[in-house]
């Protein structure tokens, strides 16, 4: 029943927000209540998953251990992004960059975006999951074009076209997967993930291989894997930062989650080697290309976007290597989902202060924005895998998992990670330290833009040094399934 709440509340919040005529406070209130409800409901659902292995509601909704982890991440980052949005939008209104209509559009779409992501995680049917992922594309396209500038329109169009093509290919792959079970269970019911797995042996192995390639290319586009990544740096750098944080920290994980669900079915039919090999090569390509572009980057939002591609590559590599790599990949996904929104949101504060996304035009962040500067530094250390942050441990574990089976790939990955570290350090040093420009005043824009980030950083640090038992159990169960 709680799942109904989690899906209806954001829809209600979006509908009520659409009816508001003047007062932005109502928009903020509806969104925070909606995001808060989703977060509390996710905790309740996760507790039920811990107690009963899975949570189900009607034949249409099911949450497994991996689903519970994603639900917790989505709702937590969703809540942080919603709270941050209040301060961000107020500052943009104050600067007369946007008006009330834009803010209303933003909050309506934000709620629809959150709802689509929750649906994508909880649906039992692969087709309904596809519909939900497609819905995320459609709702976020307008959020990316939010500023209505030429560059944001360009990013949004690219995002819409590339992701639509990708998702149509994923739909084709889904149809191929459904062909086997349809001949057994019949077509006039919604075939579930469970039906797919139960009838995995009835599937033609060659068709399953072709279908999985389409799935990987299709959802891999959404996940930002190289070479289907081209939309990602543009979209992440042009969207308002709370949306970038959700795209990077949550949405890409959902695309990965869907790929992994198909991987389980494909593995049952053709063995794990096929899907693992593909994940390793797509992962490596993503890491190598992004490492190079991170080093050469001149725009700090694009820097973070390429870092997202790099981390998606590392996660894909972990699942590709298998063994301990799977546990490490899930944990890596969690740390990345916390660290990247922290970086995007702090970069939002930097943008609000410096009015530029060019690395060369930003200096002395620590002096201009003392709290943001420290949080940005924490984010940089976390994302580059500096100990004691958890990403150090997960990257180390993934490389350890691959060193025997794929020594050359592991060596290239290690070199790329060193390049990423040097690149980040070079850019971050020039931004954080040094003297701030004279026309830039000292001070944070509002509590809304700092307090949620302090909470996010605290959770990131806490989980880096201590993994609570229930979370460990969820990860272990998810690892067993995968």
């Amino acid at each position: 029943m709680i799942i109904a709440l989690i899906t209806i509340i954001p829809l209600l919040a979006a509908t009520l927000s659409a009816m508001i005529k003047r007062n932005t406070k109502f928009l903020e209130f509806f969104t925070v209540i909606s995001a808060g409800t989703i977060f509390v409901s996710s905790i309740i659902i996760s507790k039920q998953v811990l107690a009963n292995q899975i949570y189900t509601y009607l034949p249409y909704f099911k949450v497994s251990a991996f689903g519970a982890i994603l639900l917790l991440l989505t709702s937590f980052i969703g809540l942080i992004a919603s709270l941050y949005s209040i301060g961000y939008m107020r500052t943009e209104i104050k600067k007369e960059v946007i008006g009330f209509t834009r803010v209303r559009q933003y909050f309506v779409l934000l709620n629809l975006f959150l709802m689509s992501m929750v649906f994508a995680i909880t649906f039992t049917s692969p087709v309904m999951t596809w519909v939900a992922v497609e819905a995320t594309t459609l709702s976020t396209a307008f959020l990316i074009s939010f500023y209505n500038k030429s560059s944001s329109m360009e990013a949004a169009w690219k995002y819409l076209i590339i992701n639509s093509v990708g998702l149509l290919l994923a739909f084709f792959g889904t149809l191929l997967f459904l062909a086997g079970p349809m001949s057994i269970v019949g077509g006039h019911t919604l075939i579930s993930w469970n039906d797919l797995l139960t009838n995995a042996n009835a599937l033609n192995p060659v068709i399953i291989k072709i279908a999985f390639v389409f799935i990987l290319i299709g959802y891999g586009t959404k996940m930002g894997l190289v070479p289907m990544h081209t939309w990602l740096p543009d979209a992440h750098s042009k969207a308002p930062v709370p949306i970038s944080s959700l795209l990077s920290g949550v949405l890409l994980n959902i695309a990965l989650f869907t790929i992994l669900k198909f991987k389980i079915v494909a593995d049952a039919s053709v063995g794990a080697n096929f899907s693992q090999g593909l994940l390793v090569y797509f992962g490596l390509a993503s890491i190598l290309l992004s490492a190079l572009l991170i080093y050469l980057q001149t725009n700090y939002k694009r820097l973070l976007a390429y870092s997202t591609i790099e981390h998606m590559g590392i996660i894909a590599l972990g699942f590709g290597f298998g063994g301990i790599g799977v546990f490490a990949a899930i944990l890596h996904m969690i740390y990345h989902s916390l660290a990247k929104p922290l970086l995007f949101l702090t970069s939002g504060n930097i943008f609000l202060k410096f009015s530029s996304t060019k690395i060369a035009k930003v200096s002395g962040v620590l002096k201009a924005l003392p709290v943001t500067g420290v949080l940005f530094l924490i984010g940089i250390f976390a994302i580059t895998g500096v100990p004691p942050f958890g990403i150090f441990l997960t990257e180390f574990s993934i490389l350890a998992a691959g060193i025997r089976s794929h020594p050359a790939i592991t060596a290239f990955t290690l070199l790329a990670l060193v390049l990423v570290f040097i690149g980040f350090l070079k850019h971050a040093t020039s931004m954080i330290f040094g003297e701030k420009p004279e026309d830039i005043t000292t001070g944070e824009s509002s509590y809304w833009n700092t307090v949620p980030l302090i909470v996010l950083a605290a959770v990131l640090i806490f989980l880096s040094v201590y993994l609570p038992g229930p979370l460990r159990l969820l990860i272990e169960r998810a690892t067993t399934i995968l």
């Binding site: 819905a135 459609l138 360009e154 990013a155 169009w157 076209i161 191929l176 740096p233 750098s237 572009l293």
Partner: protein
Amino acid sequence: MENLIPTQILYLADLLIFFSVILIHLTKRNVYFVYLYAVQSLIVTFLMAYSSFANHSLPLGILALLIFALKVIAAPGFFLRLIKKQTLMSMTESYLNLPLTLAGIAAITMITHSRFFTPLSTLAPVNENALLISISTMFISLFLIINRKGALSQMVGILSLENAIVAFAIAAGLEQGLGLELGIAFDICAWIVIATVFVSMIYKKFHTLDVSVMTKLKG
């Protein structure tokens, strides 16, 4: 699943869809490719309606009506209005010239009839030709999206890709599944509306639908 559409009719329809995409590639005038897209959608509607009658399936009938209303009437109508209103009667440029485009189409058709894709014909061995020609149509539509500079052409390319997937599903006997019906219905309703809004926004912002002018984002 059993397919109740006669093999020859299915193959002929899929061939017509295949040729319509090639013609869309060859034509440079915006108006012509909108008409070609409407014809292509009409053939898909016919296949869906035929399947609906043959299987006595109401959901398929509703889907056929939806495809007709949105893909044969509404979307082409919107495109034509946009073309007339914003005087986009002129040519839409491609990245590759005509001989190279034709060579690309020939290569795609050969690859999709090679041993990499022939296993897909086991889904419905009796419709092998129709299945493989639908796969060719899918990839040629993808090629259209990549090769054309116009936002309108890219949009038609995506819609054409969708038509090719539906044609493949019908040839494979997968159209009777609730999955295809739900997926396509959602895509038609939501995607067309949103993409058309975007096309209008792009024209307002750039005063052209040529996406090669969008060069602000690099690196």
